[in-house]
Amino acid sequence: MKYEPVIGIEVHAQLKTESKLFCGCSTGFAAAPNHHVCPVCLGLPGTLPVLNRKAIEYVVRTCIALECEVSPASRFARKNYYYPDLPKAYQISQYELPIGRNGKLTVRAGGKEKTIRIHRIHLEEDAGKLVHDASGGSCVDYNRTGIPLMEIVTEADVRSSEEAVAYLTSLRSILQYIGVCGANMEKGEMRCEPNISVRPVGAEEFGTKTEMKNLNSFRAVRLGVDFEIERQIDAIENGERIVQETMRWDEATQTTQTMRSKERAHDYRYFPDPDLVPVEVSASVLELIRAKAPELPEPRRVRFISQYGLPEYDAEVLTGSKAMADFFERAAAIHNDPKAVSNWIMTELMGCLNESGKTIDECAVTAEDLTALLELMGKGVISARMGKDVFKDMFATGRPPAEIIKDKGLEQLNDETAISDAVEKVIADNPGPAADFRAGKKQAAGFLVGQVMRQTGGKANPKIVGRIIEEKLLSE
């Protein structure tokens, strides 16, 4: 029998606020344990949470980008459960009245366009972090407690791991574009939990679903989702029953393992949080946020094609990340050859980034330095070949190109007298190839140019070398 996977995706995105969702503690990342805590996020008695205005603005901005309806009134609810990472024994979240509903995101997967509907977007606070092996007991760090998380839930519209990755890639790009989330999966700024079921092709009814956690990269999402689809199909073919449970992706073994059975469904006893009053996003506030909304990846891609005359492929690659697109636009504003800028970004810069495992944000080369290098090549100060080496040096050291060229003595030799001397010596030393060239064997020129380049330590301008060789041999 043929089966079809049915996948819904839950994403938790950490909002880029300075302070926590309900108190003024810092959301800073590398603090020592329990240094970013206060009575409010520790859930001490007698404290009152007060909502961070920025967090609401960020969620509304996301709702606009994902074409959600923004609820004019929404409110917070308590989700009750006992676990040491939750000091209040409830998480402030949203239940019946989330901020956003009924949105959509269109992605490209497998050469086709696919629209994934967004079920809801809500705001909640993060829990703390447990460290299990530091001592006899379990150790708790509440720095993360109360950091704002935006939960984005899709409808069960995803039909393959490829579509899942396409959705996540596109979502990450949007969240970065609108500046609400760093969206680095490895850093946990964006966590993704797909729920997966399979059903015979053509069936209406959904199969029993499992939820998957610990997917910390796009690669893990692809492998984990594919693994789980196969596991479920095998189980059904063997006459087994799929149990509704949470699976954990294990990076070491590249398999999924059961975390806990969900058969006794958690009863979170949600109820409205009496400590927090309702949030109303009025039409005028909504318009204000909409007016400030930054350009999204798709319109920017289209603009790159029309404004800079870039090929589709370049525009797609460059606008894939906001930082990369910004880098391109900064460089293209200085250097009046967008295609050359694009080529250098897509081959040299991205090559160096891939090799070093760095992101564009960590890149030491500025757009100004890249354009300076392009200008130097344009003026013939160095050859394009040398330019590539200089770029690698710029990437490694962060130094401006002119400095590197000067220090290493890489300036291209354009002095005709010096080149002429070198050419004469090469002709004298290589009578055979010189005679061949005179006899009309044009290939012999390559050899002679190479010898002159060697003679000049690779610095001679190859165009001038070629011209002088020709002049000398053919004018005789």
Binding site: T17, E18, S19, C23, G24, C25, S26, A32, P33, N34, H35, H36, V37, C38, P39, L42, V50, L51, N52, R53, K54, I56, A73, K79, N80, Y81, Y82, Y83, P84, D85, L86, Q91, L97, A127, L130, V131, H132, A134, S135, G136, G137, S138, C139, V140, D141, Y142, K213, T246, M259, R260, H266, D267, Y268, P272, P274, L276, V277, P278, V279, E280
Partner: protein, 100 residues
């Protein structure tokens, strides 16, 4: 509306309250009586009345996104029953992160 002993046992479990059989019987009776009392509201005609989502007639109470100094790790841990360095220490959790 009738509250069953099983429901009370379940709620007690969810709230991590241990109860003897006697206590369960007593609580089933008492909680049931409270629910029956509240049930009188159902006798009212509430057609067209919006459910109350909050008793205080306020909305949009918010603060600006400004960092305030935290209380300090020593104060934070002052009343902790146990600590390990700057961590709170709790009895070992066997379940590998429920991750709600």
């Amino acid at each position: 509306m009738k509250l069953t002993r099983e429901e009370v046992r379940e709620v007690a479990y969810l709230s991590r309250i241990e109860m003897t059989d006697d206590e369960l019987d007593r609580m089933t009776g008492q909680l049931g009586a409270i629910l029956d009392y509240a049930d009188m509201l159902n006798e009212l005609d509430l057609e067209g009345v919006e459910p109350t989502s909050h008793v205080i007639p306020m909305k949009n109470v918010m603060r600006e996104d400004v960092v305030k100094e935290s209380c300090g790790v020593e104060k934070a841990l002052m009343n902790a029953p146990d600590r390990f360095g700057d961590f709170f220490r709790v009895p070992k959790v066997i379940d590998e992160g429920e991750g709600h």
